[in-house]
């Protein structure tokens, strides 16, 4: 059965190559190697306007990604957006009075949450809420404000 043996070896090599290709796609192409959303701790933040922030948008500190947006809800009582952030467990020393801003990466890029650390000696833990937030900059509002101030200048 020498022929059968070569067939078996070739099939084995084929299946190994297939699994290597799947592994390559999982590790190099997809975000699996950087994935750790399920663990880590959750903090909430309230925003007046989240712009086009999406679930799974990055949360970054000093430009480094430290977590992701886990869920976005609308709070009917306060008329605000309630955003839950999932922070990776390695980053457990974020001060309580940290500032959460919604920034845009590049002029037309996607929106993300940037955390600016405060000076509080206590740190954020699971279930805490970030008090200081700043809404997303909506381009139409900025243009409107700019035109309004221009018009005021002209009338003086």
């Amino acid at each position: 059965m020498a022929k059968m043996r070569t067939v078996e070896i070739l099939v084995g090599a084929f299946m190994a190559a297939g699994f290597v290709a799947l592994f390559f796609l999982a590790m190099m192409v997809s975000n699996l190697s950087a994935a750790s959303y399920s663990n880590g701790y959750a903090v909430t933040a309230r925003f007046d306007n989240i712009g086009s922030l999406k679930v799974r948008s990055p949360v970054s500190m000093a430009g480094v990604r430290v977590g992701r947006v886990e869920s976005i809800h609308y709070d009917q009582d306060t008329y605000q957006a309630l955003v839950t952030l999932r922070i990776e467990p390695a980053y457990d020393r974020i001060p309580l009075d940290t500032f959460a801003n919604i920034y845009t990466s590049g002029l037309l890029g996607e929106q993300y949450i940037g955390l600016d650390p405060g000076g509080d000696p206590d740190f954020l833990r699971d279930g805490d809420q970030i008090e200081h937030t700043q809404s997303a900059l909506v381009l139409e509002q900025m243009i409107g404000r700019f035109l309004f101030s221009k018009a005021e200048e002209g009338s003086e």
Binding site: M4, V7, E8, L10, V11, A13, F14, M15, A17, G18, F19, A21, L22, F24, L25, A26, M28, V29, S30, N31, L32, S33, A34, A35, R56, P58
Partner: protein, 263 residues
């Protein structure tokens, strides 16, 4: 006049009944094939031979077409993206289109053309030369002995081939984008990893190719098993295999894409 209308109605009814009978026979055959699973697991050699026929022998065409499809995606994607100053997103474009769509679909079309047609011709000829009846005479169930290993061979080969196609395609896009067109290698990989999701993109792509594997081998086996046992009948069945598989794959791809990504 009435007689003419009656003839036409009868012809329509005949076509409809025949189509339904086809679908019914195909499903009965699939049940028979699945029923042969335990007896196939006792003889894994039969499956290994079919993995060789469907998988190893399709490797060359899959790898070469994957490489060229990836390289073409790199060239075309760079042309469009550079107009928006976003050529760093080339990696995302190449890998997303490969993993989500082109990998499963093109692999299924190529396997239908290479392995599916061979399956139909083989089984049709077995039927024409009465080898299948011969097996039955020896109290061997031809569905379990012949069709079941071929079904699982095609079904298991498909996701592996699709993964190889996508992986080689991404490398081809990398060679063209980074090597030829000067896209930054770091941005190519990091943007790809940031945007391609393991579950949403990769797992859905594998599910797609599993579905295509079932459909393509099922159609090929049914056409072969149901072929008119003449040389003309086998050749017509082979053509039908390729045409029906291609239509089924493309149609199902739309349905699956709408279910998976269409929110």
């Amino acid at each position: 006049m009435i007689r003419y209308l009656g003839d036409q109605l009868a012809r329509l009814g005949h076509t409809g009944l025949r189509a339904i009978a086809h679908i019914g026979r195909a499903h009965l055959l699939l049940i028979g094939i699945l029923g042969g699973t335990p007896s196939m697991l006792v003889r894994p050699r039969l499956l290994i031979l079919q993995l060789y026929n469907a998988g190893v022998l399709s490797l060359l065409i899959i790898l070469v077409s994957g490489l060229f499809v990836g390289m073409v995606l790199g060239l075309q994607g760079h042309y469009v993206l550079s107009q928006f100053g976003a050529s760093e997103s080339l990696g995302v474009m190449v890998s997303a289109s490969l993993v989500r769509e082109l990998g499963p679909v093109v692999t299924a079309l190529l396997v239908a053309g290479r392995a599916g047609s061979a399956l139909t011709a083989e089984i049709g000829l077995m039927k024409a030369t009465e080898q299948l009846s011969g097996l039955e005479m020896m109290a061997v169930d031809p569905v379990k002995r012949i069709l079941t290993p071929r079904f699982y061979g095609g079904l298991l080969s498909m996701p592996l081939l699709a993964a190889l196609f996508s992986a080689v395609g991404v490398l081809g896009g990398y060679f063209v984008g980074v090597g030829l067109l000067g896209v930054d290698a770091g941005a190519f990989w990091s943007q790809m990893q940031a945007k391609i999701d393991f579950e949403e993109d990769l797992v859905n792509g594998v599910i797609k190719s599993l579905v295509f594997g079932v459909v393509v081998t099922w159609i090929a086996l049914y056409q072969g098993y149901d072929a008119t046992p003449t040389s003309a009948g086998v050749s017509r069945a082979t053509t039908r295999t390729v045409v029906h598989s291609a239509l089924a794959v493309l149609g199902l791809d739309f349905v699956l894409t709408a279910l998976m990504f269409g929110d």
